[in-house]
């Protein structure tokens, strides 16, 4: 994956995440985790160094466009990315099921980490019931969004020749 493709994906991801309307109340109004999906794709298909860079940049973009203190999302994304990268050699990294499972787990984990950090700061006033709904919502959306994103990113890389043919 070239740096240019990564930058393009991150910018498109953050703008889409900001423009998309909030999801339903029963999902805790969790946003579609588009940036997290990009981090997971890089974690499963690329080197650890690239994944860490991507997670840091994606987190900073998410925090800069929202109200979260700078660095909180990066921390969550790095944790999720490291966990996914750990299993890189043990899973089919280009299978939809893998992306769905990792998307669900990472969506829930990052939301839980952010709820802990923001709750500790006292910056959010959401009840634990909402938090549970949000965590479940983020996991569900992660399972749905991540496979689509990974498929699109893999196609983009193939088109631009930045991914070897044998990986198909």
């Amino acid at each position: 994956m070239t740096q240019l493709v990564l930058i393009f994906a991150l910018l498109t991801g953050v703008v889409l995440q900001a423009v998309l309307p909030p999801t339903w109340a029963w999902l805790g109004a969790a946003p579609a985790p588009i940036l997290l999906g990009i981090v997971l794709y890089v974690a499963l298909a690329h080197s650890q160094l690239r994944m860490l860079g991507c997670a840091l940049a994606a987190g900073l973009l998410q925090d800069a466009l929202g109200q979260i203190p700078l660095g909180y999302s990066s921390f969550g994304f790095c944790l999720a990315g490291l966990a996914a990268h750990r299993f890189q050699d043990e899973v089919f990294e280009h299978a939809g099921v893998t992306h769905a499972v990792f998307g669900a787990a990472a969506g829930g984990l990052v939301t839980l980490v952010l709820y802990g950090l923001l709750g500790k700061d006292g910056s959010i006033g959401l009840s634990p019931v909402w938090a549970v709904k949000k965590i479940a919502g983020a996991a569900l959306l992660g399972a749905l969004v991540t496979p689509v994103e990974c498929w699109l990113l893999a196609r983009l890389e193939l088109r631009l020749g930045s991914r070897p043919q044998e990986e198909r």
Binding site: A18, A25, L56, A64, L65, G66, C78, L114
Partner: protein
């Protein structure tokens, strides 16, 4: 290989610690810079998505357009008659005010803004607008739609501003019930659940001669200095005594639909004139 992994982790951990411990003003400036840089892209994408939504709505509703047109024409005729009546009342009101030497109320100045985004993280009920400090905006200005109050500005960068919606638990507004004159605090209850109220009015005086009732209109009280007086908020529902038994509380059904906001207005009572650039000034 193992050493390299460890070095990566140490380097990125150090960068993350540095970012997490940035002084607030520096972090704020970095955030504002990112927002301003991405603002044109965000505006373009939100404009495109709005157009796509409107085209879809148009395609779906072609059959109903004639009926809708007829209804709108009826509404215009009704509103014209109402404006005529109100003009007569205004003239009478002015005459009486002059007789009593009351101070003239100034018409509210409104600034139209486009909604270009929402909170990326989903933890707050927020909107991002396409105008900022360059247009004279500043924190704590009221944001309304044609239906009523929707929130207040919290953060402002050069090209954008963030609005904390009235449905957010961090948003608390001093309000009063128009019919009975009872004061209270309106606060958000989190993201809107379908069919459920998104705000609650608390600390309503229980001992008034004219008690509050369901269906009463709630407006801003003007106390606290953030919102001007009389901005419509919503209607009361499920009025009941609070747990302590000292006050009444009620759900507030908002007049404005917070889920479908494309254009909003800022009550520009306190808008600062935008700073003049050197090019604006004559020789």
């Amino acid at each position: 290989m193992r050493d390299r992994t460890l070095i990566n982790l140490i380097v990125f951990g150090a960068i993350l610690l540095l970012v997490l411990n940035l002084p607030l003003p520096v972090a704020g400036r970095l955030k504002a810079l990112t927002r301003d840089t991405l603002a044109p892209l965000q505006k373009a994408v939100s404009g495109f998505s709005r157009q796509a939504r409107e085209s879809l709505k148009l395609l779906r509703g072609v059959g109903g357009l004639i009926e809708e047109n007829r209804k709108q024409a009826e509404e215009v005729a009704r509103l014209r008659i109402r404006v005529g009546d109100l003009q007569a009342l205004e003239a009478e009101n002015l005459q009486l005010r002059e007789l009593l030497r009351f101070r003239q109320k100034e018409a509210r100045a409104l600034m139209a803004c486009e909604v270009v985004g929402r909170d990326v993280s989903g933890w707050w009920s927020m909107l991002r607008l396409d105008k900022g400090a360059r247009d004279g905006l500043q924190p704590d200005l009221a944001v309304i739609t044609a239906e009523g109050l929707i929130g207040r500005i919290t953060n402002v960068s050069a090209r954008t501003s963030d609005v904390l919606l009235i449905s957010d638990p961090n948003c608390r507004i001093s309000a009063f019930v128009e019919r009975s004159g009872a004061f209270g605090i309106v606060s958000g209850c989190g993201p809107a659940a379908q069919g459920l109220p998104v705000c609650r009015m608390e600390f309503i005086d229980k001992s008034r001669k004219n008690p509050v009732a369901e269906g009463d209109e709630v407006v801003t009280s003007g106390l606290g200095g953030v919102f001007s007086q009389g901005l419509p908020i919503g209607k009361l529902e499920h009025v009941h005594t609070n747990a302590s038994g000292l006050y009444l509380e009620a759900d507030v059904v908002l007049r404005a639909d917070l889920g479908a906001l494309d254009n909003v207005f800022i009550v520009a009572d306190r808008v600062q004139p935008p700073p003049r650039s050197p090019e604006d000034e004559g020789p």
